[in-house]
């Protein structure tokens, strides 16, 4: 390969080559970090919630006026919902996984503990909740019907028992099982009677909540409030029909209500990750645009060089260069520029990430992304140079004898 003469020729045309190398370096730096962020978001958006999402929906209920027997009204609604054809189970709650808003709570291992040992989301549930969510109990037991109490927002009483996620159990008792252990919420003792495999918190797209996104606790409470949600799980294939029928059924039971936000879990998930998806799309679009601009830059500059060196190419052809040799010349030239751009870009990518780690609390960039990005930029260069290089290779050797 003619590295020496190509480098020698490039030394005499430094500016154009350097600008393209710089453009490729910036593209690589931005591309690596953008792809890393996109990948993080995609992985995050694909995380399971612990809910049987395919068959479950939520329904937000608000009572009109100031009803006094909300507990009884909720029980009436739940009985009606559970009795509907196509319904597996249903329960009422203050919040649910991926909802976007909910209650958080600190759990301690001793009363009067200054700082809680585990931060969790707090869900008010009943003995039907695990079945309605499709959550998997991996240790202990479910709540019993006689453990279910009513609780309003202002009550400070704590339940005697609770169910926690595996993540909470491991956080509180890393050296052994949390089952049967007594923990403290607002200095009140509570026994952990069950452990479920997984239930995400309501806040899944929030840097603050990301540290405890797997931590949830379930209390045996019926939430006495004018506004709360029902979670309903349908038989497989019955979701749409049940979503429509459930609203009718509830109005049949009691018309003094407003039902809003009837959302399948697909919708709940889409809403929860809307910002992440938008960010991924924007970053993806910007990355694609950046790649296109860089590719056009390479095509433009190489085309200019081909036009500028057309006679020189004709001379090379006259002196014995095959079309393949001319093609290889431009590909080699581009590889050298792209190689310099890739090395510079790798350093820039790591530098940019280190700055974002410090300034924006981002994760460290996986070096695999930098390497893949470098390969991608090199390939982009080869792809972009192909058309002008083919044009150069088609230069007739007879051009060498024509008057300049």
């Amino acid at each position: 390969m003619h590295f020496g003469p190509i480098l020698s020729a490039m030394r005499r045309n430094k500016v154009g080559a350097f600008l393209i190398a710089l453009q490729m370096a910036l593209t690589l730096a931005i591309l690596c970090n953008a792809l890393f962020i996109i990948r993080q978001r995609v992985v995050m958006m694909a995380r399971p919630s612990g809910v049987d999402e395919a068959n479950t929906f939520s329904l937000s209920n608000q009572w009109v006026g100031s009803p006094e027997q909300i507990g009884a009204m909720i029980r009436g609604d739940l009985a009606a919902l559970r009795g509907m054809p196509g319904v597996v189970d249903a329960y009422a709650t203050n919040a649910y996984p991926l909802r976007g808003g909910g209650w958080s709570e600190g759990i301690g291992l001793a009363p009067n503990q200054k700082h809680s040992s585990a931060h969790t989301a707090r869900y008010f549930t009943d003995d039907h909740a695990l079945n309605a969510l499709g959550a998997h109990l991996i240790a202990g037991r479910n709540f019993t019907a006689d453990e279910i109490r009513e609780r309003s927002e202002r009550d400070k009483a704590q339940p005697g028992v609770m169910i926690v996620t595996k993540a909470v159990g491991e956080k509180l008792f890393p050296d052994g099982s949390a089952l049967g252990k007594t923990v403290y919420v607002e200095d009140q003792p509570i026994v952990i009677v069950g452990i479920v495999d997984m239930l995400k918190t309501p806040w899944v797209s929030n840097a603050w909540a990301e540290k405890f996104v797997e931590n949830s606790m379930l209390d045996p409470y019926i939430f006495i409030s004018k506004q709360y949600s029902y979670i309903v799980r349908a038989q497989p294939g019955q979701l749409d029909a049940v979503m429509q029928a459930a609203q009718k059924k509830l109005f049949e039971v009691n018309r003094n209500r407003v039902i809003e936000k009837v959302r399948s879990y697909a919708q709940i998930r889409a809403d929860a990750y809307r910002n992440d998806r938008a960010l991924a799309i924007i970053l993806g679009t910007v990355s694609a645009a950046l790649l296109a601009v860089t590719a056009f830059g390479i095509v433009g500059l190489t085309s200019f060089w081909v036009t500028q060196r057309r006679r020189q190419i004709g001379v090379r052809r006259a002196l014995g260069a095959t079309r393949r040799a001319i093609l290889a010349y431009f590909q080699t030239e581009n590889s050298i520029i792209a190689g310099v751009g890739a090395l510079l870009g790798m350093a820039l990518a790591v530098g940019l990430n280190l700055w974002m780690v410090q300034a924006l609390e981002m994760q460290r960039l996986d070096l695999l992304y930098v390497l893949c990005g470098a390969v991608a930029v090199m390939l982009l260069g080869q792809f972009a140079v192909l058309w002008p290089a083919l044009r150069a290779a088609s230069t007739p050797p007879a051009l060498a004898t024509r008057a300049s």
Partner: protein, 239 residues
């Protein structure tokens, strides 16, 4: 060495056919120095392009060094140009971004010759044209005559079977032109086969044989070849 038989070159467009060469027959023997002359537009450059395998003929036959090269593919023609033909162009056609050494190296690299052999040949060629001290200079740093000498060195380094010169002194002043012609005559005396296209009658008479082209046809051949230096003496002695 070079044998063209009923050679034709036609440029076709949708509306017109232009005969650049028609029924051209020519035989150049090994070691000959032939000048090809003719007015502008007579087909001299087309003849040179076809002879140098820069263009393919549209009819007739062309044998170079005993091989029929009329219908070769692009790669094969590139190989023969590289290995058997040396070009000297009117405009020198040096690559401005490469120094003298690298310019001479260009055709040798396409031959995939090893580095040591290339270096040896470049050194010898530069010495032959008297420019050994200018190996690291760029074309822009040389005079026209020196640039043409570099171009001649580039042609010589590949030890071609045939040297094709296209108005080699056309861009030079009289003194430089004389120097270049003396160099070509010296190369011929050493046994090279040279075909030189020129419109200058003074240069043409310095060749062994003149071929005149008008309207793409050979119309006049100097039958009695002239010889130079040792070749001439040898011919006269044998006669």
């Amino acid at each position: 060495m070079l044998k063209m038989t009923h050679l034709a070159k036609v440029y076709r467009t949708e509306v017109v056919e232009t005969y650049a060469l028609r029924d051209l027959s020519l035989n150049v023997r090994e070691g000959e120095f032939v000048a090809v002359t003719g007015p502008s537009g007579s087909g001299k450059t087309t003849f040179l392009n076809v002879a140098g395998l820069l263009e393919t003929p549209t009819g007739g036959q062309y044998h170079l060094d005993g091989e029929d090269v009329s219908k070769l593919g692009d790669d094969a023609r590139s190989r023969i140009r590289n290995e058997k033909i040396g070009f000297i162009f009117q405009a020198f056609n040096l690559i401005p971004d490469l120094n003298v050494f690298d310019n001479i190296d260009v055709p040798l690299r396409y031959r995939r010759m090893n580095g040591a052999e290339r270096k040896k040949r470049i050194g010898e060629a530069l010495e032959r044209v008297g420019l050994s001290a200018r190996a690291r200079h760029y074309p822009a740093e040389l005079s026209g005559g020196q640039q043409q000498r570099v171009a001649i060195a580039r042609a010589l380094a590949g030890t071609p079977r045939l040297l094709l010169a296209d108005e080699p002194t056309g861009n030079l002043d009289t003194q430089m032109a004389r120097g270049v012609m003396e160099l070509l005559e010296g190369i011929h005396r050493d046994g090279a086969t040279i075909v030189m296209v020129t419109h200058d009658p003074e240069l043409a008479v310095r060749a062994q044989r003149n071929v005149h082209i008008i309207d793409g046809q050979v119309v006049d051949l100097t039958e009695e070849p002239r010889f130079h230096g040792v070749h001439a003496e040898a011919r006269q002695a044998s006669a």
